[in-house]
């Protein structure tokens, strides 16, 4: 049978043979669950009883829930603080590191090392740093120079930035490397021409470097935004005694989903929250791509 096929037909057979298991995988482990999540979001289900259709009830309940709006706001605060701060810091580091030759590889390694750590492990390390006197490193350091202690994780104002800091810290190295690759890709001739014309390095930065880095910036903005909108590991581990606390001031959407699904076992309600998360990610990415590509 197989022998009588033309070369082209044989190729088709091989291609589908190679793809058989992966297609099964993507169907069962990716597409089916996606549809199922949307389906469950229209149902009422506590895991033990029956699944009953409730239409848009879960969504109505969600939009009427003050905790959801608090969480929704927190999620965007993570995004709106995290993305610009990490973008600016990583660009400044990459810009200067790119111009430094002495011990270049060693410096790059120092900046990249945090990216290789586990978020859970580092959340616990930073949690220790943030403890009050006499335990926490930061407050001990402040005390040793005579500054009163700072309520990092205890304060409803400062807990969110405190949780965000290690998330920004861990991602910087990745962004620095991407920026440096982008900087290297800019043809030298542009800089030479600017130098011959006697343009200041500040003008070169704004008129040549940044416009030509646009694709890199778009990638980093979209990529890091998705990360900050899905923040979970850091928050969960730094606030295990009161997840998302104090007073829900650090709780992001993913933590709310986790608690609704796996502490309250309200599967339908949690599924509706995941659909909202999906739409938020989709809309934010599309807006960013549109804005950054056009301007």
């Amino acid at each position: 049978m197989y022998r009588n096929l033309t070369i082209r037909q044989k190729q088709i057979v091989w291609a589908w043979a190679f793809l058989a298991i992966p297609i099964l995988f993507y169907g069962v482990i990716r597409f089916y669950p996606t549809g199922n999540a949307i389906l469950i979001s229209f149902q009422e289900w506590n895991l033990l009883g029956d699944r009953t259709w409730t239409g848009l009830d879960n969504y109505q309940k969600l939009f009427a829930d003050p905790v959801f709006w608090k969480v929704f706001k927190n999620t965007f605060v993570y995004l709106l603080l995290g993305t610009p701060i990490s973008l600016v810091i990583s660009f400044v580091i990459a810009y200067h590191l790119d111009k430094t030759r002495f011990m270049h590889g060693f410096l790059r390694m120092l900046y990249f090392l945090p990216f290789m750590t586990s978020a859970v492990a580092m959340a616990w390390v930073w949690r220790w740093f943030y403890q009050p006197v006499p335990v926490g490193l930061f407050n001990n350091a402040l005390a040793s120079i005579g500054i009163p202690q700072f309520p990092f994780l205890q304060s409803t104002t400062w807990a969110l930035p405190s949780v965000l800091a290690p998330a920004i810290w861990a991602g910087l190295g990745f962004q620095v490397i991407i920026f440096m690759a982008g900087l290297r890709a800019i043809p030298r001739s542009y800089y030479e021409a600017a130098r011959i014309d006697g343009v200041s390095s500040w003008t070169v930065l704004w008129e040549i470097t940044l416009p030509l880095l646009k694709p890199t910036i778009v990638f980093i903005v979209v990529f890091s935004s998705i990360g900050f909108l899905r923040i979970f590991d850091h928050v969960f581990n730094m606030t295990t005694n009161n997840p998302g606390g104090p007073l829900n001031s650090t709780k992001p959407l993913v933590l709310m989903i986790y608690e609704t699904a796996f502490s309250a076992f309200d599967m339908g309600y949690a599924a509706a929250q995941t659909v909202v998360l999906f739409l938020v990610l989709l809309v934010v990415s599309l807006i960013q791509l549109r804005l950054l590509r056009d301007s």
Binding site: F18, F31, M109, M122, N237, T274
Partner: protein
């Protein structure tokens, strides 16, 4: 123009780009600030390791170098048994998942890149579109599936969602573009079958990409938290991140022991980085430019 004629000019170019002369004061200041910034970046890691080597009485002082460094915390934590199990679990899961991704992502990437068949574009778009779906949306259906089939609290249950990734498939597809079609044609004429061509001809040509993919997948699974947290119930099945999280949350656990646990879950990836630094940096660049 011959090669010998070009050579002096390129050498001259290189020299102007990388001068050997000493730094001026502005350059030195830039270097110094970058150096101090870099030291600040690794401080949390340094304090974690240093604290894991300290005795209880010196844990809360600011000294980075312990007075009498010792490994008692490690012996204590490992003799307890739990961290040992969690380490083994994480290692098994990360290795199996990595092998699986390296094989399947590259097989699918290769097929989509080098074969012409009806449905190719649809399969490609379908796989790519799964990149848009956040894991958090899938954990509830995965949990229900695991409950139904008895996968809760098993290695398979922890591993199954990550056995293949669209990101890896896409990355490998991009890299197989660099393999010349002539090589594959030549192998076909030599009588190799398609599986042999993929494995013995194409795969060795994309080794750097495979290394980068392997490291990313390993790191991702080693540090994965939310799904292992959901799917495991018993302490013996926890992975390192889940175990560390529950260990830290126990009442009255000393901070030096938590730091030891954190160090145990961080040091392996730091060692991987120090060995494969070049591949990892290249991998990040490739992922950034092509992903």
């Amino acid at each position: 123009m011959t090669a010998t004629e070009i050579r002096p000019t390129t050498d001259a170019l290189l020299k102007t780009q990388a001068p050997k002369k000493p730094m001026n004061s502005g350059q030195f200041l830039r270097w110094l600030l970058l150096f101090l910034g870099g030291i600040a970046m690794v401080m949390p890691i340094a304090y974690m390791i240093s604290t894991s080597l300290k005795w209880p009485h010196e844990v809360y002082n600011l000294k980075l170098i312990p007075d009498e460094p010792h490994l008692e915390n490690y012996t204590y934590v490992l003799e307890d048994g739990r961290f040992y199990w969690w380490f083994v679990n994480s290692m098994i899961i990360a290795i199996i998942t990595t092998v699986c991704n390296v094989i399947f992502d590259s097989l699918v990437g290769y097929t989509l890149c080098k074969f012409r068949f009806p449905g190719r574009y649809i399969v490609f778009i379908a796989i790519l579109s799964t990149l848009m779906i956040p894991t958090e949306m899938l954990v509830i259906p995965w949990y229900l599936m695991s409950q139904q089939f008895g996968w809760l609290d098993t290695y398979w249950g922890i591993m199954f969602p990550g056995l293949m990734t669209a990101f890896g498939t896409f990355l490998m597809k991009q890299f197989f573009e660099t393999v010349p079609d002539d090589f594959i044609e030549a192998a076909r004429i030599d009588g190799l079958n398609e599986l042999q061509i993929w494995w013995t001809v194409a795969m060795p040509l994309v080794k750097p990409a495979l290394a980068a993919l392997a490291i990313f997948v390993f790191l991702g699974n080693w540090t994965a938290f939310i799904w292992p947290l959901i799917v495991t119930n018993s302490v013996e099945m926890y992975t390192l991140p889940v175990g560390l999280s529950s260990f830290g949350d126990e009442a009255d656990v000393a901070w030096e022991l938590i730091m030891t646990g954190a160090a145990i879950s961080t040091i392996p990836t730091l060692i991987v980085f120090l060995i494969f630094q070049r591949y990892i940096i290249q991998g990040v660049v490739m992922a950034g430019l092509k992903g």
